[in-house]
Symmetry: C2
Subunit: 160 residues, 2 copies
Amino acid sequence: MMFEEMNCSVARALAEVGERWSLLIVREAIMGSRRFDEFHTRLGIARNILTDRLTSLVAAGVLAKTPSIENLRIYDYVLTEKGRDLLGVVAALMHWGDRWLDKEAGPPMVLLDRKSAQALPRVTLAKKSGQPVGLDDLVIAAGPGATERTRNRLSRLQQR
Amino acid sequence: MMFEEMNCSVARALAEVGERWSLLIVREAIMGSRRFDEFHTRLGIARNILTDRLTSLVAAGVLAKTPSIENLRIYDYVLTEKGRDLLGVVAALMHWGDRWLDKEAGPPMVLLDRKSAQALPRVTLAKKSGQPVGLDDLVIAAGPGATERTRNRLSRLQQR
């Protein structure tokens, strides 16, 4: 089964942004890159792979391709609202990498609140109160978009 | 340059869990799957790809492979602490998919707090107060693990 056909938002999300380079291109766009050559140079990505990934991200509505204001013959790739909304995913990956893969040198980059210049807390699953939620505090239940198969699976899960 | 060599925690995280199936396998482990055949059947993943991804996730320390208590000739794949810590990443992807890819049927699955049975709020980058932080409220600064190249890049970014 294709990822986008699965009854699972994680799979559907990965169908759109789950190629490894895709989320790095989104990170690069978050850092302000807009031009093909900026992505190419800053990421060190091969031109053919970059072309392919940019095309997919535009097709998915994560990036919009528009003629540059400065030079109408070249294009800008700009995050759409849907693309900007990936900030939580990118930040969660970054914080996980900071914690587990920092090579004992500490985080390469830190995310700060612009107003206070304070480091932002780690992105985690949490209650409204801010209290982090771990696997043991979690129940996964069927939502309104669940198929019968998903419902059956989840009801068996809760009986354990 | 290989992802794991980049001076970026997003790239390093993607080097370990950035193959599309990898995060779905982690989701499946979060949902309680432990056996090769459970992952195989529930995800509909080809056996050779599953073998490859499980091996990578064990090598990365995301899953631990241990003989099953019930039958010592078969193995359980269990999330390590590092693997359990991916909950925020998986939940962020899920919530993004819920918002943008629900096919107008609503979320297939919802994450509830076990105690209160209330739906947990969306995983987002936020201040300590809980107020969400968008791209315009964000500054990306060099951390202790930044290389000179990263520092230069980020200082140019802040001058814009």
